[in-house]
Assembly symmetry: C2
Homo-oligomer: 344 residues x 2
């Protein structure tokens, strides 16, 4: 069924199949380097809705519907939808899923949600009672700014370490039934992360807050599996951005782990950070979701990447905790994704 | 392993053991009818902390530590901690769990979180790779009022349909290893609920917002299992309160399902609603958590209840969605709990 080998690490005896995936983005994502890989780009950041929050729900709906189409299955074939987002009480997910008539599992994992949902979905699918699970998440620049920082109308200056919340999302259909094994990609293992807190208090420097948890998860996974960074084509973090990525590499160097040759970060891939005025890079639940469900999975299908460690990174703060002077803990969950014919 | 029989309903071939549980409450809970069953009552609602939010984290810590003690196991024996709460970005859970050094799964299910965590923990434990999982949740009257309604200092009047958020929480240790089968209680089945929305917009009437989802989950579970209300000693909803409980019974009557003889609601059990000035009853994630992990589980151990349907009820709103004129959807997850020697 599956073979646990470490604290939170699970290697699946039978791989979990990624049978379909879909990505949604908006104007800025369409101006970025991944544009050609995104399924649905809407230049209008309202997505035809009256509020940013409703626009975010619409992103999730679009992503789920498109992924179901690509999987050539209907909503009735899905056992559960697993969703979460950054908004207070996860309203992006709740109003996005409420009309889908599916058993709903709500998560909160901040920007690690894409990885958290894939991890939980994968563990559920080690149980033969289930067959297909839909994992979805999103973020929206405007809803996130309003909630976590300032109203857009205020025109607040952004610090160099700040990141740009992605307006977009992604949906992944997982299955334990190998419907399309030839071109398919699978989840071979996961690691559920621990909360790590090195005392960062600057809510404009999320990369630094998340880097320690990413370093912990990567180091422990390599230990658990007796592998080294060069065993993977790509070690992909969620949204550390420029500052957090540098810190991650430094933290791992101290442990004699060198990921500099094959590390990349969704926050550095989703935008052209030299040209798009996003400071330290992209962020938000939608950042890793859109990157994974557009460019990364496509390149895996093509065989460009065969063996990827995806580490969803989350900064666990609220405006309340920041205002009360609390530190910002981070959490990072790992998904080991392989090209099917590579591991079979 | 387990036998799925309906949309979201799972009956476990091997029961999931509740090997320990612990409850925490404060002054008002200590003045209520369950006082004699609660493990830790602290008259000081700050629990020695500087803010209400930190007090809520402290509640979760106390509950987890006490449940580990009662299970006679250490943190190292726990595979995962599954936690969630009502606060923005679930900071009650995050700051409650951050020093526990455990793989952390964050949930958002509003007041259904105790049931959601038990459901996810149970499904995880159908996988033999895991052995023990800790499920915990909490709420705090003062942190909830500040976030969802008005600052306490404002002295706002409360409507008759409003409910009183429980200051408390509960922790449950689940295991697939029958350590103490003689006196033990087990989870026999679960049902993950769907989001239901009948258009309620009054955020002071959560009971009405949640009743439709509870009715749906109960009706479908009875259908799925070909059972009737009289097959159970108790059909226990989470926090519908007086208004929601009446609505639930009426909604089910329309479907020719009569639960009036064996229904009760944690929101009506945790306080003496005639004497304690709580209007329509208790509410919050802590409401079902404290009731389940004090009186209910104790009475099951004693054999008073042998067969209980616990339906965690959640109102999926945020202040943002309410201010934008949105309806309040509800979700209800069901846990079928049995006295061990009854089902073995």
């Amino acid at each position: 069924m599956s073979n646990k080998i470490g604290n939170g690490t699970i290697i699946f005896d039978n791989p979990i199949y990624i049978i379909a995936y879909a990505s949604v983005g908006s104007k800025k994502e369409g101006d970025g380097p991944l544009a050609g890989y995104v399924d649905f780009l809407c230049d209008d950041t309202t997505f035809g809705e009256k509020t940013w929050e409703k626009a975010e729900s619409r992103i999730q709906k679009h992503a789920v519907e498109k992924s179901l189409l690509k999987a050539d299955i209907s909503v009735k074939d899905i056992d559960f939808i697993i969703a979460g987002d950054l908004l207070n009480q996860c309203i992006g997910s709740i109003y996005g899923s409420k009309d889908m008539d599916l058993p709903f599992i709500g998560l909160y994992g901040a920007c690690s949600t894409m990885a958290e949902s894939l991890a939980i979905g994968s563990v559920f699918l080690t149980n033969d009672s289930f067959e297909n699970i839909c994992c979805v998440t999103s973020s929206h620049f405007c809803s996130a700014e309003r909630q976590f920082r300032f109203p857009l109308e205020y025109g607040g200056q952004r610090t160099p370490t700040s990141q740009w919340t992605v307006t977009g999302g992604g949906s992944v259909i997982l299955s334990n039934n190998p419907k399309d094994i030839e071109k398919g990609i699978v989840i071979k293992a996961i690691k559920i992360g621990k909360i790590k807190d090195l005392g960062i208090k600057d809510s404009n420097n999320m990369g630094a807050a998340m880097a320690p948890s990413a370093a912990y998860t990567i180091k422990e996974y390599l230990n658990d599996t007796l592998t080294k960074p060069s065993d993977y084509d790509l070690i992909l973090t969620g949204d550390l951005g420029e500052v957090g990525s540098d810190l991650l590499k430094k933290l791992l160097e101290r442990e004699n782990i060198d990921i500099s040759k094959n590390h990349n970060d969704c926050g550095l891939m989703v935008y052209d950070i030299d040209k798009q005025d996003v400071n330290a890079g992209g962020s938000g639940c939608g950042c890793s979701a859109i990157t994974l469900t557009s460019y990364i999975f496509k390149k895996m299908e093509e065989g460009i990447y065969k063996n990827v460690l995806f580490i969803g990174t989350g900064a666990l703060l609220s405006t309340t905790s920041v205002q009360q002077g609390d530190t910002i803990p981070g959490i990072s969950h790992l998904i080991h994704i392989c090209k099917t014919n590579f591991i079979v």
